[in-house]
């Protein structure tokens, strides 16, 4: 199989961007804070190399098996990246915020349920059963990530937890990619895969371009430093501690109102 010029260009650009992003993550010391995201980017580099070698040196059927296996792994790592971002947002002091844990679990369960149901309804036509499975799995992953991303935004706004700069940037890129992937997935499901399917090919190309744009966004925003934190005046610090202690005492009394 000979890839088209478009595929070769996108392949090269994705590979170069992944390497550059990896460089930024290590150079700016973000890799320690985002190990799952760094793994995801490193995996993207390996995925490119493995795909390239398999395409040029192995039989097409073998290439396809490798490609599909890597796709499934890719989607698994995306879920880990989401979990990492959730930990950054919902564990501001190192432990899960009390008022969030249950809501977050409900969000994950509901998102997975809805994504599974819709993926089950979809019946993308494809010559091989494995291809139908991959298209469904791909859609499931896009929808799940999308729901989790939107749910997290809603949850943080409701409970009043702020996003740190770089967490927000990674989430924005991943969220935008998931949303556009979902839109593309809706287009892909009815047309499916066939030998000369221009619509399918066009949608997949669009998705690759969106991914390239996300990579560029991450390279730029993760290179930039977060705004410097402000210094809390001593008086204000003491007052906040005092306020917190007194409110805590009051709440202990509220929790046992029958003692009055």
């Amino acid at each position: 199989m000979h890839p088209t010029a478009f595929v070769r260009i996108v392949w090269t650009a994705t590979f170069a961007n992944s390497l550059l992003l990896l460089f930024v993550l290590f150079m700016r010391r973000r890799a320690g804070s985002f190990p799952a995201f760094t793994t995801y980017v490193a995996f993207s580099v390996l995925e490119n190399i493995a795909g390239f070698l398999a395409l040029y040196h192995l039989a097409f059927a073998t290439y396809r098996s490798i490609f599909y296996s890597l796709e499934i792994l890719d989607e698994g790592i995306q879920v880990l990246v989401f979990y990492e971002l959730a930990v950054h947002v919902f564990c501001p002091t190192g432990a899960w915020a009390r008022d969030v844990r249950r809501a977050f679990l409900r969000l994950v369960a509901a998102s997975a349920g809805v994504a599974f149901l819709l993926s089950w309804i979809a019946q993308p036509p494809a010559p091989l059963r494995v291809q139908t499975f991959i298209l469904r799995a791909d859609f499931f992953s896009s929808l799940l990530m999308c729901e989790l991303f939107v749910g997290t935004v809603v949850l943080t706004a409701t409970v009043g937890l702020p996003w740190k700069t770089h967490v927000a940037r990674i989430a924005q890129g991943l969220g935008a990619y998931s949303l556009l992937s979902l839109a593309i997935g809706i287009g892909v499901a009815p047309v499916g895969i066939s030998a000369h399917n221009a619509i399918f090919a066009g949608l997949i190309r669009a998705r690759k371009l969106v991914w390239l744009a996300c990579q560029v966004y991450w390279i730029v925003t993760l290179w930039q430093e977060a705004p410097a934190p402000r210094e809390l005046p001593e008086v204000m610090r003491a007052q906040i501690f005092s306020l917190q202690n007194r409110v805590r005492d009051d709440l202990i009394r509220i929790r046992g109102p029958r003692n009055r």
């Binding site: 929808l143 979902l182 809706i186 009055r260």
Partner: protein, 187 residues
Amino acid sequence: MRNLYFVVLATLLLVALSGTLVHYYLRARRSAGDTWEDLLRRLTWIDREAIATVALDAVGPLDERGNPRQQNESFALDDDTIWKLLGGLEGLQVVERNCRVLVDLATYLQRYYPEALVVAEQLRLNAREIEWHVGRLKGAAQTGNLRSSFTDYAQRAVVTYYRMTRLLLDLCDQAGAPGLVQLQQAI
């Protein structure tokens, strides 16, 4: 046919997700640009005297350090009086809205002063808890069960709200934070 259902359902979901995202993203952007003074301005005016009367009935007058003084005549106000002083359900709604601002003030502290992270997180959780108590009262009022819930929650929730807002006032006063006049007027 199944693919048609899929496209319709998935498109509706996509629109709903995009709409929700845009709404909350814009809201988050607005609040990220809020200054301390902007947040204080969002507090709704509430009858401070009435709130203080209800609160002090439960904990007694506060000393100069903000702690309650011992007294024998606590809980002298009956439920009807407390209900009138708080302004009924509308008054509770104002308290609830102001609790939301208290949550946002704690969020502001977390966002800009990482060194106060632990205490700001505790403040946020506490403000959320007051919000929860007031929310339960509001729910009870809507189902006509306010009287039975009131004894349990209302007065003490108001005490905590009063204490929190009063100390916030002291905080701004001592730190020389701008917006003190508005804050005094609001809470």
